[in-house]
Symmetry: C2
Subunit: 147 residues, 2 copies
């Protein structure tokens, strides 16, 4: 094993604003997303902000999923950290994007951890994200879920 | 406001192994780290793995702090997401690194969010992290805490 896991930092844009303050639904979406991605939910913490917005974190046996929302920007900041070969963090990001009706997602994949035998792996970035010109990946009906 | 916040992805290496499975202490360290950095704790979730290792997330009014540990590698994966001008995520990372007696930390800073008026900001990385040759920042007695 060369890495502790993969950590996806995802920007969800063009979300449906009313969905971004509904903490009960957000909790359900994140927990479902984690299971869809092969994760095991250990617990979660969510908070509704006044007047709008929400934050939540779901702790997994494989690490975590988090969300912080800005309904006024139709924006949600998501991160999914998954360790182990079974978990597919990108599937969790896509599940959440679909649930929030995001028009676009951008993400950055960071390989976490160290090898006990080799050198520390360098930071790696998804090729989809170009410096100064972020790649926009459509999450539309044309793009089937990877589930 | 051009960004929702700053998200630090931090690798803590050379930690004291016995500290990495003590969930009560880890919870205290993360909550203290969040407050040190100017954050407000809303709640937390921690889990102790068998036989070793732990995971935890602290939900903040300003986003979150998380930790996942691999005592066998003397390694902890930390991330600190802080929104708002008051919070200084780097101070939280340094606090945790000191508490776990990490010999080295590496981090990546990602600017999160979108501007409601301008284009989406590109991904940005701390200059301390070089591709293929990760910069190692010492956390030693010589490097005073920024607190």
């Amino acid at each position: 094993m060369n890495a502790a896991g993969r950590h996806l930092i995802a920007e969800l844009e063009g979300c449906e604003p009313r969905l971004l303050s509904d903490v009960a639904a957000l909790r359900r979406h994140l927990e479902e997303a984690a299971r869809t991605a092969g994760g095991t939910v250990l617990g979660s913490q969510f908070h509704r902000f006044d007047p709008i917005g929400a934050s939540g974190v779901v702790l997994l046996a494989e690490s975590h999923v988090s969300i912080h929302t800005w309904p006024e920007w139709r924006y949600a900041a998501v991160d999914v950290f998954g360790c182990g070969a079974r978990m597919v963090p990108a599937a969790a990001v896509r599940h959440i994007a679909t649930a929030l009706r995001a028009s676009d997602i951008r993400w950055l994949e960071v390989t976490r951890g160290v090898s006990p035998e080799g050198p520390v792996p360098p930071w790696r970035h998804e090729r989809r994200v170009g410096v100064g010109r972020p790649h926009v990946m459509e999450v539309a009906a044309r793009a089937p879920e990877s589930r």
